[in-house]
Symmetry: C2
Subunit: 326 residues, 2 copies
Amino acid sequence: MLENPFLDWIRSHTPAHPQVPLNVGDDMAAVVVGGRWAGARGWAAKSGLSGLSPQSLVLLKIDQALDQVHFDLREHSATQAGRKAVNRCLSDCAAMACLPAAVMISVALPREASEAFAQELFLACQSAAAAFDCPLVGGDTAIWDQRLVITVAAMGRSDHLPLTRSGAKAGDTLFVSGRLGGSILGRHLSFTPRIRLAEKLARTAKVHAMMDLSDGLAQDLPRLCTASGVGAIVYPHLLPIHEDAQTLAGRDQIPAGLHALADGEDYELLFAIDPNDVPTIIPISEQGGVPLTAIGTITGEKVLVLETESGVKMPWPKAGWEHGGE
Amino acid sequence: MLENPFLDWIRSHTPAHPQVPLNVGDDMAAVVVGGRWAGARGWAAKSGLSGLSPQSLVLLKIDQALDQVHFDLREHSATQAGRKAVNRCLSDCAAMACLPAAVMISVALPREASEAFAQELFLACQSAAAAFDCPLVGGDTAIWDQRLVITVAAMGRSDHLPLTRSGAKAGDTLFVSGRLGGSILGRHLSFTPRIRLAEKLARTAKVHAMMDLSDGLAQDLPRLCTASGVGAIVYPHLLPIHEDAQTLAGRDQIPAGLHALADGEDYELLFAIDPNDVPTIIPISEQGGVPLTAIGTITGEKVLVLETESGVKMPWPKAGWEHGGE
């Protein structure tokens, strides 16, 4: 079973709800909580977020991290596993440019796990959330004879409307934060969710669409383009290649640029902004220590292409990390 | 590792947060979302819920259901597993007398699970939530070579303050809803969360403390008493014994009354009310089809005792379902 077709099926089986302006299809769902609760039903938007006040919304997300899928306890510590589990979920808060207001953790512990292991895991989760002043508000622990499962749910809030995947416009400049590729060498465990960067971007520039790169640019950009009803041209020679991608290329002979394009778990931001706003975000890039790189342009034609420095156009690669697939 | 000592450790390692008036120790956590978000920090109560408006709060809970722990796919269907996973979490909404405003589902599917199985599971989860007009707002699916994990997170809202475990007072009358014991014969899969009943109770009577019975009265009442700083006398001859407990007693020779006291997963309400309010809740019991039974009295002495019809006092049983223990 592949994840993407199942996600499409879920989308088609999720009815509209008057209190839910954003459901399946963005990095978090948005739920209306503002106004007097009883009797408030029915007034919320059927037209997405328009007309809603940011204060009336909470954003919600659930995400799991599984032993030997997302981390591997044969190599990684409880601290690494817990930190990754929380930060994966917080990266979705970054994707929507909201601030995490609470996280909850559910843990299925293998029977042989020690109390010290469980405590280390809890403290790692708590400290990952606390890095963003986000409280861990309870959780659930069970013990079983299978491998470790850490499930994290986050609630986000913001005083501006959340950014979504669906607002990119033809002519927008496409940006990524950080450097891409080779995260498997360790960054997939130690990355910092781009919450502060996303917040600055949302306040500074007209960000039309944003998401986080969890499955790799090759898979994630098509999602942003589909949600926005647009296409894109990406210039592979502009891709900010991480040194880990270079290291990996030296080992597996796959070009570093292809790693940057197709590797998953970068947890960087991908966003489309009004080209007139490009100058306004340059200082953010320079101050924050996280580079922001223009990698392409949004187009009105619903096709994704790679265009080399010499102007040769290539079809979009199929590669990327399809969960559940091979 | 036993769950209760770990929970105590977690409690002692959870710092206060100005936006979190209720954290570990109740059936759900409460988080302040009202008011203007940025800059609102610091004003929220350090004194629990007092002074807060119900509209400024959301209630949050995460809960997992594991194959061969909470259900068993060798005997139970995807529909049964999904329904139970969601209803366990919704039962916590009942415990706090709030309405579920959104649920999220995370599923770790065994690699051999078919698409039909995944779809059946999704629809069961969706329909369990929809029974309370609660939308399923996205989720997460992963595939692995271990058993099924269903993790559910719920957000609750209410236009009255949530009920907690901590308000019981000496002299209160102690009630349970429904009938207790023997849920293992099937009710643990098919129960109805007492959301509507809890809502009616909260509107009608001065409910001082409430929780849901998930681990059995023998274990859960001490939690309510500890949270409230009180004790209780329970009259075992008044316990409403479910016919399943009778059936089970016929098989295992353990008295049905002990099943009613010690069996887990009743998912009924346990609550303490002002004795003057007892008459006001009688009509609720008569209309709703769910019996409400007075089973004892809250006492100022921090001890739990069983008192037989002939006035003999017995110590509180140690039995009950301690997760992770034997």
